[in-house]
């Protein structure tokens, strides 16, 4: 198990009810496994999957990317600036 930080914004923040949390992630320690860990805690997040992008340490990456102990993750809901 590794621990990562997760930030929440927009509609995901509403679902979780918090700005951030520490999350335990199981092997293979990817964005995918982090998302599975999160959606087991908050099942409603599962239905957002197809519309979310993953950012690790402030950069967009694929869900298949490896995450490391202490990384800052954000599952980014569709942005709507402008």
């Amino acid at each position: 198990m590794i621990r990562v930080g997760v930030k929440f914004f927009g509609p995901l923040r509403d679902v979780v009810g918090s700005d951030e949390m520490d999350l335990s992630v199981s092997p293979p320690y990817t964005g995918e496994s982090a998302f599975e860990a999160l959606s087991s805690l908050y099942p409603k997040i599962g239905m957002w999957k197809s519309s979310l992008r993953l950012a690790v340490n402030l950069e967009y990456v694929d869900f298949s990317s490896v995450v490391h102990e202490g990384d800052e993750l954000c599952f980014v809901p569709p942005v709507s600036g402008g």
């Binding site: 950012a55 402030l58 709507s80």
Partner: protein, 138 residues
């Protein structure tokens, strides 16, 4: 220069800031809070941001613009917090020798902000509340 601010944005001051004697063309995009969306009357919009990532991405967009086009100066400023109808939410502006570069780069700046920069608007409508882009989710 890129910035995310909770203070009102003054487009004229930003235009002045990037204008120079060698810039023959300056293009400015000003995005304001519209009074309706999808036929629903808008009361206000509440913008939130993932600040360190937004600042990093906006700086990257400025760098990309400087690589792609020959420009003199670039400004991207986005407001966050609670905005009323008519208030300025975003300004992008580019100065260059000629108009072509200024137009193209300015459009690229606002298009990139809208598609990639982690900023979200919550729409406070006359008959409810929803997140911008909600139709494209789920």
């Amino acid at each position: 220069m890129v910035a995310v601010t909770s203070e009102p944005i003054d487009p004229a001051a930003l235009l002045e800031r990037i204008s120079s004697a060698e810039s023959g063309g300056t293009d400015v995009f000003v995005g304001r809070v519209r009074n309706q969306t999808g036929g629903k009357k808008v009361r206000k919009l509440e913008y939130s941001v993932y600040l360190p990532m937004a600042e990093k991405l906006m700086a990257q967009i400025e760098n990309e613009i400087r690589e792609k086009w020959e420009v003199h100066d670039v400004v991207m400023v986005h407001r966050i917090g609670s905005l009323s109808v008519g208030e300025v939410a975003v300004v992008t502006a580019v100065s260059a020798v000629h108009r072509k570069e200024a137009f193209e780069a300015c459009r690229y700046a606002i298009d990139q902000i809208k598609s990639a920069v982690p900023i979200w608007k919550r729409e406070i409508l006359e008959d409810g509340v929803r997140w911008g882009n909600e139709g494209s989710c789920i």
